[in-house]
C-alpha cells in the first residue's frame, strides 16, 4: 500500500522530487479538521505573520448545529487563480511549481483580489493611518516570495521559505489529523482518492482506523 501521508509528513523531511516542476497543492479534508488551531499558530510562528493577519484560518460553519464543519482555509494556489485575473497591477503571479505569489513591491492594496478569491484568503494590515489598507499578504505555501531565496529580505517581507529548504508548508506538517494535506498535486490526489475510496464503503465504515488503512 502506498504511504500517502508522506506528502505532509515532516519526518519525511523533503518535498517531492522534481519540486520545481511539481504543481503544489493543498487539500482540505473538512471531515478531519478538529479546529485545534495548530495550523494557525504554526503559520504565525513560522512566518512572523503580523497582528491582524491570518494566512490560514479555521472557519466553523453551522456552529452548534447539526452538520457543524470546520474548514481550514489557506491559499489554495488555484491553477486558474481569479485573484491573478483581477489584479490591476499584475502583482499576483503563478510560479513554475504552481504556487501563487504576491509581489508586495507591486501591490497597490486595492482589495480587489479579496473579492475575487473564493476563499477570502487575501489579508491586509489593519490599524494604518486614515484606515489605509496597506498591501496584500497571503499564504505563500511556505515558499517565501519574489526575492532572493532564503535571504533576510525575503524572510522579512514574506516569511519563511521551507520549499527552498526541501520542506513542505508547516501548517500541513503539524496538522494532527492530516486534515490539511500539502505537496505535489499527484501525490495529494493519491491521498484524496484513497480517502474517497475508503469512505465510499459507507458512513458506517467511517472511523480513524478506516481513514488510515495503512495504520
Amino acid at each position: 500500500m502506498a504511504k500517502p501521508l508522506m506528502v505532509t509528513d515532516p519526518s519525511a523531511g523533503a518535498a517531492p522530487a522534481k519540486a520545481q516542476a511539481a504543481r503544489m497543492k493543498f487539500y482540505v479534508d473538512v471531515k478531519r479538521c478538529i479546529e485545534c488551531g495548530g495550523c494557525e499558530v504554526a503559520c504565525k510562528n513560522e512566518n512572523n505573520v503580523p497582528m491582524g493577519i491570518a494566512r490560514i484560518r479555521v472557519v466553523t460553519v453551522n456552529e452548534g448545529q447539526t452538520g457543524e464543519t470546520n474548514v481550514p482555509i489557506p491559499c489554495m494556489h488555484c491553477t486558474n487563480a481569479p485573484c491573478i485575473s483581477v489584479c490591476p497591477v499584475d502583482a499576483l503571479f503563478t510560479r513554475a511549481d504552481g504556487i501563487v505569489h504576491v509581489n508586495k513591491e507591486t501591490c497597490i492594496g486595492c482589495g480587489y483580489c479579496g473579492y475575487a478569491c473564493p476563499f477570502g484568503v487575501p489579508q491586509y494590515p489593519s490599524g494604518l493611518a486614515f484606515g489605509q489598507r496597506g498591501v496584500m499578504d497571503k499564504c505563500t505555501f511556505c515558499a517565501g516570495g519574489p526575492e532572493k531565496p532564503l535571504s533576510d529580505r525575503e524572510r522579512l517581507m514574506y516569511g519563511s521559505n521551507r520549499v527552498a529548504e526541501g520542506k513542505l508548508p508547516l501548517c500541513a506538517s503539524v496538522c494532527a489529523t492530516k486534515a490539511l494535506v500539502a505537496g505535489d498535486a499527484v501525490e495529494v490526489e493519491k491521498v484524496v482518492r484513497q480517502r474517497v475510496a475508503t469512505r465510499g464503503y459507507g458512513e458506517s465504515n467511517w472511523g480513524w482506523s478506516t481513514a488510515y488503512p495503512t495504520g
Partner: protein, 327 residues
C-alpha cells in the same frame, strides 16, 4: 446555512468604495441631465439653469469619485498615476480607471463652456460625444464589482443597467434639488419662476420613468437570485439562496426594504404621482422626493457592496464521499 463573511478587509469598511460607486454614477447622471437640459432650452429658457447646475455639480462629483477610489488604496499615489502602474487589461479596475480619466475632460470642458457662455454649438457637440463616455463610466462602476467573478450578489446581467439607471435617477434628483434650493437667489429668478412648474413637471415625469425602470431591474435581480437559489450548487452550499436570504430576510433586510425600496423608491414614487394628480405644493413635494431619491441611490451602493461580502465558502462541505480537489 449561516451566511459567511470570510473576508478580512472589506470595501465598506471606510465607505470609500460605495461612495465612489455613488458619485461615479451621479457624475455620469448629472452630465447626461445637463446635456438633455441643454437641448431642452428651446422649450423653456429655464432649462439652461438646470443644465448649468447639473454641469457644474458633475465636476465635484467626478473629482470626489476619483479621490475616494484613490484613497481606499493601500498605495493611493499609484492609483492616481494608474496609467503608469496598471498593466493587467483583463482587470475591470483598469478599465474603470480609464473610464474615470477619459470622462473627466468632457465633464470639465462642458461645464467650462457653460461658465464662460461661449461656443454653444461646440458645447453641445462635446455633450453628445461625452454621453457615451459618461455611460461607460457609470457602467464601469458596476463592472468593478461584477468583474470580481466569484461574488453571487454581483451579477453581470443586472448591476451595469441598475447602476446606470440609478446614476441618471440621482442625477435628475440632485439637479432638481439644487434648482429648488437656489433658484430664488439666481439672476434669472423671474424667468425661472415662470418656467418652474414646467421644469418640475418634466423632472417628476423623468423620475417616475426611471423609478419604474429601477423597480423592474430590482424585481429581475431578486428573481435572478431566487431562481438560482432553486438550483442545487455543486459545492453543496447554495450561496445564491444564502445571499437572497441575507438581503430579503437577513441583516440587510431593513436597509433594503425600508431604506431602498420604501424610502428610496416607493415614497418618491407616491409623491410623484400625488404631485401629478393634486398639482399643489409641487416644490415641497418635489424637494422631499428628490432628497429621498438621493438617499436611495446612496443606500443602493452600500447595500450592493455589503451584500458582496457574503461569499461562498468553496471547500466541499458535502465532501464525505465527494471531496473535490481544488485548482
Amino acid at each position: 446555512m449561516t451566511p459567511i463573511i470570510v473576508m478580512q478587509s472589506k470595501w465598506s469598511d471606510y465607505g470609500f468604495v460605495p461612495l465612489y460607486l455613488f458619485l461615479g454614477g451621479l457624475a455620469a447622471g448629472l452630465f447626461i441631465v445637463a446635456v438633455c437640459a441643454d437641448f431642452a432650452q428651446a422649450k423653456s429658457k429655464g432649462y439652461a439653469t438646470v443644465a448649468k447646475l447639473a454641469a457644474y455639480t458633475a465636476i465635484p462629483a467626478w473629482a470626489l469619485a476619483g479621490l475616494f477610489i484613490a484613497i481606499h488604496l493601500g498605495r493611493p499615489w499609484r492609483g492616481v498615476f494608474f496609467p503608469w502602474y496598471f498593466s493587467n487589461y483583463g482587470s475591470w479596475m483598469v478599465f474603470g480607471g480609464w473610464a474615470l480619466l477619459l470622462s473627466g475632460p468632457f465633464i470639465v470642458v462642458y461645464a467650462a463652456l457653460w461658465y464662460f457662455g461661449i461656443y454653444p454649438k461646440v458645447r453641445r457637440v462635446i455633450g453628445i460625444i461625452g454621453i457615451p463616455f459618461a455611460i461607460w463610466f457609470a457602467i464601469n462602476t458596476a463592472m468593478l464589482l461584477s468583474g470580481s467573478q466569484t461574488v453571487p450578489f454581483w451579477p453581470r446581467s443586472v448591476l451595469p443597467v441598475l447602476f446606470v439607471n440609478s446614476g441618471v435617477l440621482t442625477g435628475v434628483a440632485v439637479a432638481g434639488l439644487l434648482l429648488l434650493l437656489t433658484y430664488r437667489y439666481l439672476p434669472a429668478v423671474a424667468e425661472l419662476k415662470q418656467s418652474m412648474g414646467q421644469i418640475i413637471l418634466a423632472g417628476t415625469v423623468a423620475v417616475l420613468v426611471f423609478e419604474l425602470i429601477e423597480i423592474l431591474i430590482l424585481a429581475f435581480f431578486l428573481n435572478y437570485l431566487s431562481a438560482l437559489a432553486a438550483t442545487p450548487s455543486r459545492m453543496g452550499v447554495n450561496m445564491s439562496a444564502v445571499v437572497f436570504d441575507y438581503l430579503v430576510r437577513g441583516p440587510l433586510a431593513v436597509w433594503f426594504w425600508v431604506g431602498l425600496v420604501g424610502a428610496g423608491i416607493l415614497i418618491p414614487l407616491v409623491l410623484g404621482v400625488v404631485e401629478l394628480i393634486v398639482r399643489r405644493w409641487e416644490e415641497q413635494l418635489a424637494g422631499v422626493k428628490f432628497a429621498l431619491l438621493i438617499v436611495g441611490g446612496l443606500l443602493l451602493r452600500f447595500i450592493i457592496v455589503w451584500g458582496g461580502e457574503v461569499k461562498p465558502i468553496m471547500p466541499p462541505l458535502s465532501g464525505l464521499l465527494n471531496p473535490a480537489l481544488f485548482g
